[in-house]
């Protein structure tokens, strides 16, 4: 999929089974949103096919009935009530009358918003809007639910509730395509993860499969004050360090046998003139896989 001369998504192939939660991870601009927009029928791929429920999505509007779309930004009318918003969206999916009312009630109950159904959306908290945003994607009972960073800007309590609900969707047999910036969310809810970078799917598998690719590598997190880029640059030169990137006021690096090379890393930091406040040697995880494969931290 190209935009002018820029290739946004190139040769991405993945498959979701019913009941599976698939996490699509990638740094900003990696091609996640373009992929999702193609799956939801908002963009038409230049080449290739998207098949949902055994039906090719291109030129078949009815395939959209199989997909529930939950966009990254809350897409609701603030001047309408929760029920009015859901009723409007339900009607676009050809739901009418008693069935529409039933589905709206069901979606409101699933997202714990039944008692606020008659309130205007502009009176909702950020977390409630996020939940209603998800409810809007569920009305027509899709076989595939596409969630684009559904927990951005949400308080911990609401985030927990959303993740619980997403896991429940999977248990109920719905396939879920989930993108997030939060690695711990991907580790918690996703059955399989695809890592996308520069428009290409660079790795795919279960958490265990992906972590196994790291072998004996560890992730080291250096908390520091000062010029973190300079620190990252310095530690990259240490033999055994594969990748180093800055994120969240720390430098993250992947290295063979992390504990063994730690003295050399600290020595390099000292030479770079950056004071290291804390050191964590972390067992291989998705964050380490991501760093290893893309050379960047997910929240960079």
């Amino acid at each position: 999929m190209s935009f002018g001369d820029r290739l946004a998504v190139d040769d991405v192939t993945f498959r979701l089974a019913p009941g599976e939660i698939y996490g699509l991870l990638g740094p900003n601009g990696a091609g996640k949103t373009t992929t999702i927009r193609m799956v939801c029928g908002l963009l038409t791929p230049d080449r290739g096919t998207i098949t949902i429920g055994g039906r090719a999505a291109a030129h078949d509007l009815s395939v959209k009935n199989l997909v529930g779309y939950v966009p990254q930004d809350v897409a609701l009318y603030p001047d309408l009530t929760a029920r009015e918003n859901l009723s409007f969206i339900g009607r676009l999916y050809k739901l009418h009358g008693a069935l529409l009312d039933e589905r709206v009630d069901e979606a409101l109950a699933l997202t714990d918003l039944s008692d606020r159904s008659s309130d205007r959306v502009d009176s909702f908290s950020g977390g409630m809007k996020r939940r209603l945003n998800i409810a809007a994607g569920l009305l027509h009972h899709p076989v595939l639910l596409v969630l684009d960073e559904p927990t951005v800007g949400v308080d911990p309590q609401s985030r927990h509730a959303i993740l619980e609900r997403v896991q429940a969707f999977g248990r109920e047999g719905m396939a879920v395509l989930y993108t997030t910036h939060y690695m711990e969310e991907a580790e918690r809810v996703c059955d399989r993860v695809g890592i996308i970078d520069h428009g290409r799917l660079v790795a795919e598998g279960t958490r265990r499969e992906l972590v196994a690719r790291l072998g004996e590598r560890d992730r080291i997190e250096l908390g520091a004050t000062g010029d973190l880029e300079r620190l990252a640059e310095a530690v990259r030169k240490v033999p055994g360090v594969e990748n180093a990137a800055t994120a969240d006021h720390a430098v993250h690096l992947v290295a063979d046998e992390g504990r063994r090379i730690l003295p050399a890393v600290l020595e390099a930091a000292n030479h770079a003139g950056v004071a290291v406040n804390s050191v964590d040697v972390i067992e291989p995880d998705l964050e380490a896989v991501f760093l290893h494969l893309t050379g960047t931290a997910l929240r960079e």
Binding site: K64, Y69, D73, A75, L76, D79, L80, E84, I89, L92
Partner: protein, 390 residues
Amino acid sequence: MIGSALVIARKDLRQRLRDRSAIVLGLVAPLGIAALMSFAFKGTDTFHFTLGIVDADHGPVASALIQTLQQPSLRQIVTISPAASPSLASAEVRNQKMAAALVIPAGFSASVAGGHPLAITTVTSVNNTIAGSVASSIASSFVAQLNADRLSVATALAAGAPATQAQRLAALAADLRIPEQAVQRPLGAHELKTISYYSPGMAIFFLLFTVSFTSRSFFVDRAQGMIDRMRAAPIHPVEILAGKALSVFAYGVVSLATIAVITSAAFGANWGNPLAAGALGLALVFSVVCLTALVIGVARTQRQAEGFSSIIVFGLALLGGNFVFLSSEPPLMRRLALLTPNGWAMRGFTDLATIGGGFGTVVLPIVAILVFSAVVGTAAGLLASRAVTA
């Protein structure tokens, strides 16, 4: 296909009803301004004033002037009220009990026969300049007639008529009237009342604002992700545009019809034959739908849409004669008005109010508006689909 468009139109109309500014623009403002116009121009459709007469002369010429002022043809315009003295007349004019006054000085009749006739004084007030002008005009006309009589007698005497016949010659001359007079006669069967012009004028002006707030709402929808939300549903992008168009159409029709009914009932505006006016209104609203789609197609952002809409609303209203009578504008402006749908609509509504008649009266304006809509709509159709899928 029409189902989803209706769903979108219904939702848009629900939002518009909740949005008080839309109700103000669509109903309250045009009605309020039409009412203001009605009050502001009240009395200009039928002009009448009280004219004071100070007759210090009591001679035959003064009597002739008073008789002239009491002619049946002038009774609809002026009521004569005698005043005892110039100072009393001035006081009455100042107090606005009289709009103006004429002072015929003592010895005026006698002076007419002499070489230096006395002057008739007109007392006027800034409070009623039109009455002052009319009074001066009446006095001037009378004096002009008088001078013509004097000139006739003097010419006859110079030509050899005996001086003893001067009185008879003067009476003969006084019986004559200047044969050529300008008579104002409206072109149509009815005179165009101000309210009958400004009611459609203001209704159309505020209808044009639909272009602004609908295109704005489209870009707000897009920024809020609602256009993508709709496109993720099993509907065609054209249905989204059709829904927006339907809401504009319904809103425009209801707004125009309501204003027509209220201004007719409350202010006596004449919109002409209801069926013909309705057909003209529908054509006009259709052109507004096309203009809205064009703005949505051309603009890239909400701010651009607001800018384009403002240019369209005020540009069309100025060119189309929504603020001033087209008939009082220069020929170039009258020609430019024919490039605008609202200019044709104003022409159609004016014809219905003056010439009368039915559908035949507005066929040409309707065809012109539909041609305009076809041109704009074709361009908009090519551009607006891209705006939905962008």
